[in-house]
Protein backbone atom coordinates (compact mmCIF):
# COMPACT_ATOMS: atom_id res chain seq x y z
CA UNK A 1 0.00 0.00 0.00
CA UNK A 2 1.33 3.37 -0.93
CA UNK A 3 1.73 5.85 1.88
CA UNK A 4 -0.77 8.71 1.98
CA UNK A 5 2.21 11.06 1.53
CA UNK A 6 3.22 9.45 -1.73
CA UNK A 7 -0.38 9.36 -2.91
CA UNK A 8 -0.81 13.01 -2.11
CA UNK A 9 2.34 13.92 -3.93
CA UNK A 10 1.39 11.94 -7.03
CA UNK A 11 -2.14 13.33 -7.07
CA UNK A 12 -0.88 16.89 -6.93
CA UNK A 13 1.95 16.23 -9.35
CA UNK A 14 -0.58 14.74 -11.78
CA UNK A 15 -2.84 17.73 -11.43
CA UNK A 16 0.08 20.04 -12.08
CA UNK A 17 1.25 18.03 -15.06
CA UNK A 18 -2.25 18.04 -16.50
CA UNK A 19 -2.39 21.82 -16.12
CA UNK A 20 1.01 22.23 -17.72
CA UNK A 21 0.07 20.13 -20.72
CA UNK A 22 -3.37 21.75 -21.06
CA UNK A 23 -1.67 25.12 -21.15
CA UNK A 24 0.17 24.10 -24.32
CA UNK A 25 -2.89 22.93 -26.23
CA UNK A 26 -5.54 24.91 -28.10
CA UNK A 27 -9.05 25.09 -26.66
CA UNK A 28 -10.74 22.00 -28.23
CA UNK A 29 -7.64 19.85 -27.73
CA UNK A 30 -7.47 21.08 -24.16
CA UNK A 31 -11.06 20.06 -23.47
CA UNK A 32 -10.39 16.61 -24.90
CA UNK A 33 -7.22 16.22 -22.91
CA UNK A 34 -8.84 17.33 -19.66
CA UNK A 35 -11.69 14.89 -20.26
CA UNK A 36 -9.31 11.96 -20.76
CA UNK A 37 -7.10 12.84 -17.84
CA UNK A 38 -10.18 13.22 -15.70
CA UNK A 39 -11.38 9.71 -16.51
CA UNK A 40 -7.84 8.41 -15.97
CA UNK A 41 -7.98 10.06 -12.57
CA UNK A 42 -11.25 8.38 -11.64
CA UNK A 43 -9.82 5.04 -12.75
CA UNK A 44 -6.84 5.55 -10.47
CA UNK A 45 -9.21 6.43 -7.66
CA UNK A 46 -11.16 3.20 -8.13
CA UNK A 47 -7.98 1.21 -7.62
CA UNK A 48 -6.51 3.38 -4.90
CA UNK A 49 -7.04 2.09 -1.40
CA UNK A 50 -6.27 5.21 0.64
CA UNK A 51 -8.08 7.97 -1.18
CA UNK A 52 -9.81 8.86 2.06
CA UNK A 53 -6.60 9.61 3.93
CA UNK A 54 -5.45 11.53 0.88
CA UNK A 55 -8.59 13.62 1.06
CA UNK A 56 -8.21 14.11 4.80
CA UNK A 57 -4.70 15.43 4.25
CA UNK A 58 -5.94 17.75 1.52
CA UNK A 59 -8.70 18.98 3.81
CA UNK A 60 -6.26 19.64 6.63
CA UNK A 61 -3.88 21.62 4.40
CA UNK A 62 -6.72 23.63 2.89
CA UNK A 63 -8.07 24.32 6.38
CA UNK A 64 -4.70 25.64 7.53
CA UNK A 65 -4.47 27.76 4.40
CA UNK A 66 -7.84 29.32 5.29
CA UNK A 67 -6.52 29.91 8.80
CA UNK A 68 -3.47 31.61 7.25
CA UNK A 69 -5.87 33.87 5.28
CA UNK A 70 -7.38 35.04 8.55
CA UNK A 71 -3.96 35.56 10.13
CA UNK A 72 -2.84 37.66 7.15
CA UNK A 73 -6.07 39.63 7.17
CA UNK A 74 -5.43 40.39 10.87
CA UNK A 75 -1.82 41.48 10.48
CA UNK A 76 -2.50 43.55 7.34
CA UNK A 77 -1.86 47.15 8.31
CA UNK A 78 -3.78 49.51 5.97
CA UNK A 79 -1.28 52.30 6.64
CA UNK A 80 1.95 50.35 6.15
CA UNK A 81 3.53 51.15 2.82
CA UNK A 82 5.58 48.84 0.61
CA UNK A 83 9.07 50.23 -0.02
CA UNK A 84 9.55 52.30 -3.17
CA UNK A 85 12.73 52.35 -5.23
CA UNK A 86 14.59 54.69 -7.57
CA UNK A 87 13.67 54.26 -11.24
CA UNK A 88 17.26 53.22 -11.95
CA UNK A 89 16.43 49.90 -10.23
CA UNK A 90 13.61 48.99 -12.63
CA UNK A 91 14.26 45.55 -14.07
CA UNK A 92 14.90 45.59 -17.83
CA UNK A 93 13.55 43.59 -19.51
CA UNK A 94 10.81 43.09 -16.94
CA UNK A 95 9.91 39.38 -16.75
CA UNK A 96 6.67 38.16 -18.34
CA UNK A 97 4.65 35.70 -16.27
CA UNK A 98 1.21 34.14 -16.71
CA UNK A 99 -0.42 30.71 -16.70
CA UNK A 100 0.32 30.57 -20.45
CA UNK A 101 3.35 31.38 -22.60
CA UNK A 102 4.16 34.84 -23.89
CA UNK A 103 3.02 33.97 -27.45
CA UNK A 104 -0.51 33.39 -26.08
CA UNK A 105 -0.91 36.92 -24.74
CA UNK A 106 -4.41 38.29 -25.45
CA UNK A 107 -4.64 41.37 -27.63
CA UNK A 108 -7.40 43.55 -26.18
CA UNK A 109 -8.77 46.41 -28.33
CA UNK A 110 -8.48 49.46 -26.08
CA UNK A 111 -10.80 51.55 -28.23
CA UNK A 112 -13.79 49.26 -27.56
CA UNK A 113 -12.74 48.01 -24.13
CA UNK A 114 -15.03 48.88 -21.25
CA UNK A 115 -14.57 47.98 -17.62
CA UNK A 116 -17.78 46.45 -16.31
CA UNK A 117 -18.68 47.16 -12.70
CA UNK A 118 -21.22 45.20 -10.67
CA UNK A 119 -22.13 44.03 -7.20
CA UNK A 120 -22.33 46.20 -4.11
CA UNK A 121 -21.76 49.57 -5.81
CA UNK A 122 -24.00 52.61 -6.25
CA UNK A 123 -23.03 53.34 -9.87
CA UNK A 124 -22.83 50.29 -12.16
CA UNK A 125 -22.04 52.02 -15.42
CA UNK A 126 -19.06 50.79 -17.48
CA UNK A 127 -15.84 52.75 -17.89
CA UNK A 128 -13.90 53.42 -21.08
CA UNK A 129 -10.12 53.74 -21.10
CA UNK A 130 -10.41 57.49 -21.81
CA UNK A 131 -12.69 57.95 -18.80
CA UNK A 132 -10.22 56.15 -16.54
CA UNK A 133 -7.34 58.20 -17.95
CA UNK A 134 -9.26 61.37 -17.05
CA UNK A 135 -9.35 60.45 -13.34
CA UNK A 136 -6.51 61.49 -10.95
CA UNK A 137 -3.35 59.43 -11.59
CA UNK A 138 -0.39 58.25 -9.53
CA UNK A 139 2.74 56.20 -10.28
CA UNK A 140 5.08 54.20 -8.06
CA UNK A 141 8.23 52.13 -8.42
CA UNK A 142 7.80 49.03 -6.29
CA UNK A 143 8.94 45.45 -6.01
CA UNK A 144 6.82 42.77 -7.68
CA UNK A 145 7.23 39.50 -5.78
CA UNK A 146 6.23 36.23 -7.40
CA UNK A 147 4.96 33.23 -5.44
CA UNK A 148 7.79 31.30 -7.14
CA UNK A 149 10.29 33.33 -5.14
CA UNK A 150 11.78 35.71 -7.70
CA UNK A 151 11.20 39.43 -7.55
CA UNK A 152 11.61 42.38 -9.94
CA UNK A 153 11.26 46.11 -9.50
CA UNK A 154 8.87 47.87 -11.88
CA UNK A 155 6.98 51.12 -12.20
CA UNK A 156 3.20 51.15 -12.51
CA UNK A 157 0.97 54.18 -12.90
CA UNK A 158 -2.77 54.77 -13.06
CA UNK A 159 -5.82 55.54 -10.96
CA UNK A 160 -5.57 55.02 -7.19
CA UNK A 161 -8.05 52.17 -6.74
CA UNK A 162 -9.46 53.83 -3.64
CA UNK A 163 -10.36 56.93 -5.70
CA UNK A 164 -12.16 54.74 -8.21
CA UNK A 165 -14.03 52.77 -5.54
CA UNK A 166 -15.21 56.01 -3.95
CA UNK A 167 -16.22 57.34 -7.37
CA UNK A 168 -18.47 54.36 -8.07
CA UNK A 169 -19.86 54.36 -4.53
CA UNK A 170 -18.56 50.91 -3.62
CA UNK A 171 -19.73 49.51 -0.28
CA UNK A 172 -16.49 49.78 1.66
CA UNK A 173 -17.79 47.45 4.34
CA UNK A 174 -18.06 44.63 1.79
CA UNK A 175 -15.38 41.96 2.16
CA UNK A 176 -14.23 41.14 -1.36
CA UNK A 177 -13.66 42.46 -4.85
CA UNK A 178 -13.56 39.97 -7.69
CA UNK A 179 -11.89 40.47 -11.09
CA UNK A 180 -12.44 38.73 -14.42
CA UNK A 181 -9.86 39.05 -17.16
CA UNK A 182 -9.66 38.82 -20.96
CA UNK A 183 -7.31 35.83 -20.66
CA UNK A 184 -9.87 33.85 -18.61
CA UNK A 185 -7.84 34.53 -15.51
CA UNK A 186 -9.78 35.53 -12.42
CA UNK A 187 -8.89 36.44 -8.87
CA UNK A 188 -10.22 38.35 -5.88
CA UNK A 189 -8.92 40.55 -3.08
CA UNK A 190 -9.95 41.77 0.35
CA UNK A 191 -11.47 45.26 0.75
CA UNK A 192 -8.71 46.59 3.08
CA UNK A 193 -6.10 45.85 0.40
CA UNK A 194 -8.32 47.38 -2.29
CA UNK A 195 -8.41 50.59 -0.27
CA UNK A 196 -4.65 50.60 0.44
CA UNK A 197 -2.98 53.83 -0.78
CA UNK A 198 -0.59 51.88 -3.06
CA UNK A 199 -3.26 49.83 -4.83
CA UNK A 200 -3.47 51.14 -8.41
CA UNK A 201 -5.65 50.50 -11.48
CA UNK A 202 -2.53 50.49 -13.62
CA UNK A 203 -2.73 51.98 -17.12
CA UNK A 204 1.02 52.46 -17.58
CA UNK A 205 4.24 50.54 -17.05
CA UNK A 206 7.51 52.52 -16.77
CA UNK A 207 5.52 55.65 -17.74
CA UNK A 208 4.35 54.18 -21.08
CA UNK A 209 0.98 52.71 -22.00
CA UNK A 210 0.70 49.30 -20.35
CA UNK A 211 2.06 46.76 -22.88
CA UNK A 212 -0.06 43.72 -23.76
CA UNK A 213 2.42 41.44 -21.95
CA UNK A 214 1.79 43.28 -18.70
CA UNK A 215 -1.99 43.44 -18.96
CA UNK A 216 -3.19 46.09 -21.42
CA UNK A 217 -5.46 47.92 -21.07
CA UNK A 218 -5.67 47.73 -17.27
CA UNK A 219 -4.22 45.64 -14.47
CA UNK A 220 -4.65 45.91 -10.73
CA UNK A 221 -1.25 46.51 -9.16
CA UNK A 222 -0.76 45.87 -5.43
CA UNK A 223 2.77 45.93 -3.97
CA UNK A 224 1.23 44.41 -0.82
CA UNK A 225 0.32 41.17 -2.62
CA UNK A 226 2.07 38.42 -4.55
CA UNK A 227 2.05 38.51 -8.35
CA UNK A 228 -0.82 36.07 -8.89
CA UNK A 229 -3.16 38.38 -6.95
CA UNK A 230 -2.52 41.19 -9.48
CA UNK A 231 -4.95 40.55 -12.40
CA UNK A 232 -4.06 41.68 -15.94
CA UNK A 233 -6.38 42.60 -18.84
CA UNK A 234 -9.19 43.24 -16.33
CA UNK A 235 -12.59 43.18 -18.08
CA UNK A 236 -14.94 43.32 -15.13
CA UNK A 237 -14.97 43.74 -11.37
CA UNK A 238 -17.58 43.15 -8.72
CA UNK A 239 -17.91 43.99 -5.04
CA UNK A 240 -19.25 41.13 -2.95
CA UNK A 241 -19.43 39.46 0.44
CA UNK A 242 -18.90 35.97 -0.98
CA UNK A 243 -15.29 35.01 -1.63
CA UNK A 244 -14.99 34.63 -5.43
CA UNK A 245 -11.75 32.59 -5.24
CA UNK A 246 -9.31 32.68 -8.13
CA UNK A 247 -7.63 30.75 -10.94
CA UNK A 248 -4.61 29.67 -8.88
CA UNK A 249 -6.27 30.07 -5.50
CA UNK A 250 -8.85 27.41 -6.38
CA UNK A 251 -5.96 25.03 -7.16
CA UNK A 252 -4.24 25.57 -3.84
CA UNK A 253 -2.37 28.87 -3.79
CA UNK A 254 -3.08 30.76 -0.61
CA UNK A 255 -6.07 33.07 -1.16
CA UNK A 256 -4.86 36.14 0.76
CA UNK A 257 -1.39 36.04 -0.83
CA UNK A 258 -0.22 39.09 1.09
CA UNK A 259 3.31 40.47 1.33
Amino acid sequence: MKSPFAKKVTAQADRHLINEVAKRLDAPARRQFMKYSMSLGSLAMLTGCDTSSDEALDKMLTGISRFNDRVQWAIFNPDRLAPTYPDSMIKVPFPFNAYYDVDQVREVDGSTWKLEVSGLVADKRSWTLAELAALPQMAQTTRHICVEGWSAIGRWGGVPFRTFLEKIGADKTARYIGFKCADDYFTSIDMPTALHPQTIMALTFADHTLPADFGYPMKIRMPTKLGYKNPKHVMSMFVTNTNPGGYWEDQGYNWFGGS
Partner: protein, 210 residues
Protein backbone atom coordinates in the same frame (compact mmCIF):
# COMPACT_ATOMS: atom_id res chain seq x y z
CA UNK B 1 33.92 4.94 34.53
CA UNK B 2 31.65 3.59 37.18
CA UNK B 3 29.64 1.35 34.95
CA UNK B 4 26.77 -0.29 36.71
CA UNK B 5 24.78 -1.97 33.97
CA UNK B 6 21.69 -2.40 36.06
CA UNK B 7 21.34 1.26 36.99
CA UNK B 8 19.07 3.31 34.74
CA UNK B 9 19.35 7.06 34.74
CA UNK B 10 16.85 9.62 33.59
CA UNK B 11 18.38 11.39 30.59
CA UNK B 12 15.67 13.42 28.86
CA UNK B 13 12.51 14.82 30.50
CA UNK B 14 9.26 14.02 28.65
CA UNK B 15 8.88 17.61 27.46
CA UNK B 16 12.30 17.51 25.80
CA UNK B 17 11.50 14.23 24.06
CA UNK B 18 8.13 15.46 22.81
CA UNK B 19 9.62 18.72 21.56
CA UNK B 20 12.55 16.90 19.97
CA UNK B 21 10.30 14.73 17.81
CA UNK B 22 7.84 17.51 17.12
CA UNK B 23 10.79 19.54 15.90
CA UNK B 24 12.23 16.69 13.84
CA UNK B 25 8.88 16.23 12.04
CA UNK B 26 8.51 19.98 11.49
CA UNK B 27 12.06 20.35 10.15
CA UNK B 28 11.66 17.44 7.74
CA UNK B 29 8.36 18.83 6.40
CA UNK B 30 9.75 22.37 6.15
CA UNK B 31 12.96 21.30 4.42
CA UNK B 32 11.32 18.96 1.89
CA UNK B 33 8.55 21.41 0.98
CA UNK B 34 11.11 24.22 0.95
CA UNK B 35 13.15 22.36 -1.66
CA UNK B 36 10.09 22.11 -3.88
CA UNK B 37 9.46 25.86 -3.49
CA UNK B 38 13.14 26.50 -4.28
CA UNK B 39 12.77 24.47 -7.49
CA UNK B 40 10.11 26.90 -8.79
CA UNK B 41 12.77 29.60 -9.06
CA UNK B 42 16.24 28.27 -8.16
CA UNK B 43 18.71 30.70 -6.60
CA UNK B 44 21.67 28.61 -7.74
CA UNK B 45 22.31 26.54 -10.85
CA UNK B 46 20.76 23.34 -9.49
CA UNK B 47 17.40 21.89 -8.49
CA UNK B 48 16.57 19.37 -5.77
CA UNK B 49 15.57 15.95 -7.08
CA UNK B 50 11.79 15.70 -7.21
CA UNK B 51 11.85 12.46 -5.21
CA UNK B 52 13.12 14.17 -2.07
CA UNK B 53 10.66 17.09 -2.21
CA UNK B 54 7.21 17.38 -0.69
CA UNK B 55 3.98 18.80 -2.10
CA UNK B 56 4.06 17.60 -5.72
CA UNK B 57 3.93 21.12 -7.15
CA UNK B 58 4.56 24.68 -5.99
CA UNK B 59 1.05 25.24 -4.58
CA UNK B 60 1.09 21.97 -2.65
CA UNK B 61 4.58 22.64 -1.31
CA UNK B 62 3.55 26.10 -0.10
CA UNK B 63 0.55 24.58 1.69
CA UNK B 64 2.86 22.18 3.52
CA UNK B 65 5.43 24.86 4.25
CA UNK B 66 2.90 27.30 5.70
CA UNK B 67 1.23 24.54 7.71
CA UNK B 68 4.40 23.01 9.19
CA UNK B 69 5.70 26.47 10.10
CA UNK B 70 3.11 26.66 12.89
CA UNK B 71 4.31 23.34 14.31
CA UNK B 72 7.95 24.46 14.06
CA UNK B 73 7.35 27.78 15.82
CA UNK B 74 4.88 26.59 18.46
CA UNK B 75 7.02 23.56 19.28
CA UNK B 76 10.19 25.67 19.37
CA UNK B 77 8.65 28.22 21.72
CA UNK B 78 7.38 25.45 24.00
CA UNK B 79 10.88 23.97 24.11
CA UNK B 80 12.48 27.34 24.87
CA UNK B 81 10.00 28.32 27.56
CA UNK B 82 10.35 24.95 29.27
CA UNK B 83 14.14 24.88 29.04
CA UNK B 84 14.65 28.47 30.15
CA UNK B 85 12.11 28.36 32.99
CA UNK B 86 13.47 25.09 34.37
CA UNK B 87 17.05 26.31 34.12
CA UNK B 88 17.83 23.27 31.97
CA UNK B 89 19.11 25.36 29.08
CA UNK B 90 21.86 26.90 31.20
CA UNK B 91 22.64 23.72 33.03
CA UNK B 92 22.94 21.55 29.93
CA UNK B 93 24.41 23.87 27.34
CA UNK B 94 26.43 26.42 29.29
CA UNK B 95 29.24 27.28 29.29
CA UNK B 96 30.68 26.42 25.88
CA UNK B 97 34.44 26.88 26.10
CA UNK B 98 36.36 27.01 22.79
CA UNK B 99 39.24 25.05 24.34
CA UNK B 100 36.91 22.23 25.38
CA UNK B 101 35.24 22.21 21.96
CA UNK B 102 38.63 21.76 20.26
CA UNK B 103 39.68 19.09 22.74
CA UNK B 104 36.43 17.12 22.46
CA UNK B 105 36.43 17.45 18.69
CA UNK B 106 39.95 16.02 18.56
CA UNK B 107 38.89 13.15 20.81
CA UNK B 108 35.76 12.48 18.77
CA UNK B 109 37.70 12.37 15.49
CA UNK B 110 40.01 9.80 17.03
CA UNK B 111 36.94 7.84 18.09
CA UNK B 112 37.79 8.20 21.74
CA UNK B 113 34.97 10.32 23.04
CA UNK B 114 33.45 8.16 25.73
CA UNK B 115 31.18 9.54 28.37
CA UNK B 116 30.37 7.77 31.56
CA UNK B 117 27.54 10.16 32.23
CA UNK B 118 24.77 10.03 29.59
CA UNK B 119 23.07 13.04 31.13
CA UNK B 120 25.97 15.28 30.20
CA UNK B 121 26.70 16.75 26.75
CA UNK B 122 30.30 17.14 25.60
CA UNK B 123 31.48 20.54 24.35
CA UNK B 124 31.03 19.69 20.66
CA UNK B 125 27.43 18.62 21.31
CA UNK B 126 26.74 21.78 23.26
CA UNK B 127 28.03 23.91 20.42
CA UNK B 128 26.15 21.92 17.79
CA UNK B 129 22.82 21.96 19.68
CA UNK B 130 22.96 25.64 20.59
CA UNK B 131 24.13 26.33 17.04
CA UNK B 132 21.17 24.54 15.47
CA UNK B 133 18.78 26.33 17.85
CA UNK B 134 20.18 29.65 16.61
CA UNK B 135 19.94 28.44 13.00
CA UNK B 136 16.28 27.54 13.50
CA UNK B 137 15.70 31.02 14.94
CA UNK B 138 17.51 32.38 11.87
CA UNK B 139 15.46 30.36 9.40
CA UNK B 140 12.22 31.50 11.11
CA UNK B 141 13.19 35.18 11.16
CA UNK B 142 14.42 35.18 7.55
CA UNK B 143 11.25 33.28 6.62
CA UNK B 144 9.13 36.05 8.15
CA UNK B 145 11.22 38.58 6.20
CA UNK B 146 10.41 36.99 2.84
CA UNK B 147 6.82 35.99 3.72
CA UNK B 148 5.84 39.51 4.81
CA UNK B 149 8.33 41.99 3.31
CA UNK B 150 5.74 44.76 3.70
CA UNK B 151 4.03 43.99 7.02
CA UNK B 152 7.32 42.91 8.63
CA UNK B 153 9.38 45.26 6.46
CA UNK B 154 11.64 46.14 9.38
CA UNK B 155 12.91 42.56 9.56
CA UNK B 156 13.38 42.47 5.79
CA UNK B 157 15.40 45.69 5.91
CA UNK B 158 17.56 44.38 8.76
CA UNK B 159 18.29 41.28 6.69
CA UNK B 160 19.47 43.35 3.73
CA UNK B 161 16.24 43.46 1.71
CA UNK B 162 14.01 40.81 0.11
CA UNK B 163 16.56 39.24 -2.22
CA UNK B 164 19.29 39.03 0.42
CA UNK B 165 16.87 37.63 3.02
CA UNK B 166 16.00 34.85 0.53
CA UNK B 167 19.65 33.82 0.54
CA UNK B 168 19.88 34.03 4.33
CA UNK B 169 16.85 31.70 4.49
CA UNK B 170 18.52 29.27 2.10
CA UNK B 171 21.84 29.18 3.96
CA UNK B 172 20.19 28.66 7.36
CA UNK B 173 18.37 25.70 5.77
CA UNK B 174 21.63 24.33 4.32
CA UNK B 175 23.41 24.50 7.69
CA UNK B 176 20.45 22.89 9.48
CA UNK B 177 20.50 20.05 6.94
CA UNK B 178 24.24 19.68 7.49
CA UNK B 179 23.65 19.50 11.27
CA UNK B 180 20.93 16.87 10.84
CA UNK B 181 23.14 14.74 8.58
CA UNK B 182 26.02 14.71 11.10
CA UNK B 183 23.57 14.37 14.02
CA UNK B 184 21.91 11.29 12.56
CA UNK B 185 25.28 9.67 11.78
CA UNK B 186 26.36 10.25 15.38
CA UNK B 187 23.12 8.71 16.66
CA UNK B 188 23.69 5.71 14.41
CA UNK B 189 27.18 5.32 15.86
CA UNK B 190 25.83 5.43 19.42
CA UNK B 191 22.39 3.81 19.15
CA UNK B 192 21.73 3.93 22.89
CA UNK B 193 21.20 7.69 22.69
CA UNK B 194 18.37 6.92 20.30
CA UNK B 195 16.62 4.80 22.94
CA UNK B 196 17.16 7.62 25.42
CA UNK B 197 15.54 10.33 23.30
CA UNK B 198 12.48 8.04 22.97
CA UNK B 199 12.14 6.46 26.42
CA UNK B 200 14.00 9.13 28.35
CA UNK B 201 16.25 6.64 30.09
CA UNK B 202 19.66 5.12 29.59
CA UNK B 203 21.82 2.63 31.40
CA UNK B 204 24.32 4.57 33.45
CA UNK B 205 27.88 4.38 32.28
CA UNK B 206 27.38 2.81 28.90
CA UNK B 207 25.99 5.68 26.91
CA UNK B 208 28.43 7.62 24.83
CA UNK B 209 27.67 11.03 23.52
CA UNK B 210 25.96 11.37 20.16
Amino acid sequence: MSADKTTWVKVHPAMVRICHWGNAIAIILMVMSGWQIYNASPLFPFRFPKAITLGGWLGGAIQWHFAAMWLLVANGLLYLVYNIASGRLRMKFWPIRPGEVLHDLGQALRGRLAHADPTHYNAVQKLAYVGVMLLIAGVVVSGLAIWKPVQFGVITELLGGYEFARRVHFFCMALIVFFVAVHVVMVALVPKTFIAIITGRAKAGVVEAA
